[in-house]
Symmetry: C2
Subunit: 470 residues, 2 copies
């Protein structure tokens, strides 16, 4: 064995030459070193250093998730409203206030159950969860034979065979898509419309494979929709392992039955609130750059990524700007929207408020794709994104990679209808659907550095837009 | 509340226009669409689709980590040698064989203990772990007053005050560095040389703040070194929370004592093995493109990221090439190196073997920075990296971002001394030191998709190099 000294020298050389070199150009801005932008470069560096040293985004996320799941209408959602209002006041933001929005109040009720009874294997419990908005089953549950389909086309071919059955939509997300949101978009229709389409064919229940790329025991819920005039039947999601087991057992025993007990209920709507705070612009206070996420979450976990992260991003971004002593020309506003998950009323009521009549929203940046490593910004149409390219190097210097055409999310979409430029923070999506709408969306799955990098990027972009306009 | 139908339409529009658009250019190759490269483009796509559909990298990682921690000289390390040899044979690789290398056999011994005894707080247990290569304490432990330093300069200024004391190196990794390996490089010297430098000043022990950017209760071990002729004193790492507690208590009670009990021991060296398998080149079999990681790990966890991931990457990459029916002109070889962590003998003995005399290693690709989202390849010097830029678009199409100058890791460094082009797979580093060398480096911290993307990238690069040469 050669001596450890030589080996350590070798390690030393490797660190200096090999590992550090590839990122040594982090703060070089060749190709965009015009003097008028040196100030932004210095500001980006300053915000980066401050953010990475202090990492308050993770502390904000701890506060938000500390109340637990925040489904619209729940006391936890209201607690989160109060906590974030308090955080904004403690930060010394201007014009901190709440804006009312009516929200649904659906509750899951007591423990849910799902079970397969087959001739070969007896009765086996599987993890299920009611899909948001579903009606309950009878109190003793329902039990019926099952028909497995991969699509609505297959459903439509069933004819009478669907009658009295539970329709089992077993459509996996496509693992071959790099952008997991694309894979989600390709399968989410069965969760949203599965029950109502099944009911049209006389089915008594709908069971939907969970929307995740992992094989595990967690049901992933989300919103569903009943069409007016179509009989309402109960709908549940089943974990991916449960779905695979059911599919396997169906091949051996097509006559097996599936049982499920759901005790969810729709209560009266409640009044909840968007939480708003800002740094008032020094020259054009009526022109607004908005940053936001949504406070409400699904009820199976405290929604750390969806969308505690987006709220923490926005709060930390506005703190970084304020505490860096920056005085933006235009107003930078943080909005914690209520009710993205159960109908999007917060975003609509924000735009409809009479307060908006005296305001011009130039741009809105939404974070609602998790607290993972931020890759880039999705910015308006191709022409607008091209204009933003001149700033790409700023964001590359703080760890991001690109600016591309695209937009934000559900909360700011109504602003877009009024001409506001919509921007989305785009973190890497590989891990998002591991946790999305399931019991796994907890703070332990969030890395404080990845989260902070998103907040830093939003702070830098919001500040530049507040100075430059759109 | 507006109707759910409108809201769902809105969601639908957002998905189609906003979320999917930013990545819709995934497989476009503008600027590098020359016909001679269409084959590589098609191959990259094919490997990507196969990899993401099958995701065997995670299965290989399960197998490797199933044996537990794999410290050199341990029976688990030997079990991993056998398991990976078997995997290569089952894969139908050519010339599967083992190559011997002598490895140290240091063992941690029984449960370790650390405790702070201060006037105000009594005795408090804190998490410690012997640093790899440390001698044991007396069987009842040692206990002594503590001097906290942040650097060797501070140590050198202590003079007689170090005598008979435990030197507590409380130097945190710098959170302001985007590349966490740079932050590691700035603090690792205290772990490696802390004991021997402290001993020169008459200290009786060394205690080193764990090398992680998280605040938690996990000690992070690693290798240390005693200088010849300097008294050997025991050295332990302490969790970051333990280090912060000790530092706080020292401010209140500078006379407090720190106790630690370590029962580690250096046993006789053992003979272990590198594991080698390949796809023999169809035209120039003697010219080799090597891919590798290291099988050994530290002993506090099964080393899922360090470096189970690198082994899984290499195994999956060579499987993807083979099962895609590709017949590379040059030989593509996977090497599971033994003993990267405890002296690097595997890499040196690989180069020194007489088998190498009939071989020319054109390039070696190492994966030893974890199984996270792959960002790019670090490739040789600036000139070489520039040449590789023409292939950057291939890798951008499979989710990576860049090719930059840089290199591999410890295992392939000896090949570099012989002129082989060294290449490192560079995943994102934000989460790496959360787990590195600690009890947290377990398979649950690995995302199968992130891991697979690294294997796919290595497969594509190895295949292109095997066709094109360097």
């Amino acid at each position: 064995m050669a001596s450890p000294r030589k080996w350590l020298l070798c390690v030393c050389i490797i660190f200096s030459i090999i590992i550090i070199l590839p990122l040594s150009d982090s703060f070089s801005f060749t190709g965009y070193a015009q003097s008028e932008n040196l100030r932004y470069l210095e500001t980006a560096k300053q915000i980066f250093r401050k953010g990475m040293s202090e990492q308050h985004a993770f502390e904000y996320l701890k506060t938000i998730t500390s109340v637990g799941p925040r489904l619209t209408g729940s006391s936890q959602a209201e607690a989160a409203v109060e906590l974030t209002r308090k955080l904004m006041e403690e930060m010394g933001l201007d014009n901190v206030h709440l804006e009312a929005t009516e929200v649904p109040h659906w509750v899951r009720g007591e423990a849910e159950e799902g079970w397969i009874t087959s001739s070969g294997s007896g009765t086996i419990s599987v993890p299920v969860a009611a899909i948001g908005g579903s009606i309950a089953t009878f109190s003793e549950g329902i039990s019926s034979q099952v028909v497995e389909v991969k699509s609505f086309i297959e459903l439509n071919k069933l004819g009478d065979r669907a009658k009295g059955k539970i329709i089992f939509y077993n459509k996996p997300m496509d693992p071959k898509l790099l952008n997991t949101f694309q894979a989600y978009a390709g399968a989410v229709a069965y969760r949203v419309r599965g029950a109502t389409e099944a009911a049209k064919h006389g089915a008594v229940g709908a069971l939907v494979r969970s929307l995740t790329l992992r094989s595990d025991d967690y049901p992933h819920t989300g919103l569903m929709q009943y069409d007016p005039g179509v009989k309402k039947i109960p709908a549940a999601c089943i974990s991916t392992r449960g779905a695979d087991l059911l599919s396997d057992l169906l091949k051996k025993d097509p006559e097996l039955t599936f049982g499920m007990k759901l005790s969810c209920a729709d209560l009266d709507p409640e009044i909840s609130h968007n939480v708003v705070g800002e740094i008032e612009g020094s020259e054009k206070p009526e022109e607004i750059i908005l940053m936001g996420g949504h406070l409400d979450s699904w009820d199976l976990s405290p929604g750390a990524h969806d969308d505690g992260a987006g709220c923490a991003h926005s709060l930390e971004a506005i703190r970084l700007i304020k505490e860096s002593g920056l005085k933006p020309k235009r107003t930078i506003r943080a909005v914690m929207f209520m009710n993205e998950e159960f109908g999007g009323s917060g975003g609509r009521d924000y735009v409809a408020s009479e307060k908006r009549q005296r305001e011009i929203h130039l741009a809105a940046i939404e974070s609602d794709r998790g607290g993972f490593l931020p890759l880039g910004f999705a910015v308006g149409d191709a022409q607008t994104a091209e204009k933003f390219k001149k700033w790409e190097h700023f964001f590359q210097s703080i760890g991001m990679f690109w600016i591309r055409p695209g937009g934000g999310g559900v909360d700011i979409a109504p602003l877009g209808q009024q001409g506001t430029l919509l921007i989305g923070l785009v973190p890497d999506s590989q891990r998002y659907f591991d946790v999305h709408h399931s019991g796994k969306d907890v703070i332990d799955t969030v890395n404080p550095r990845e989260l902070e990098l998103g907040a830093i990027a939003m702070a830098v972009l919001a500040y530049i837009l507040a100075e430059e306009g759109v």
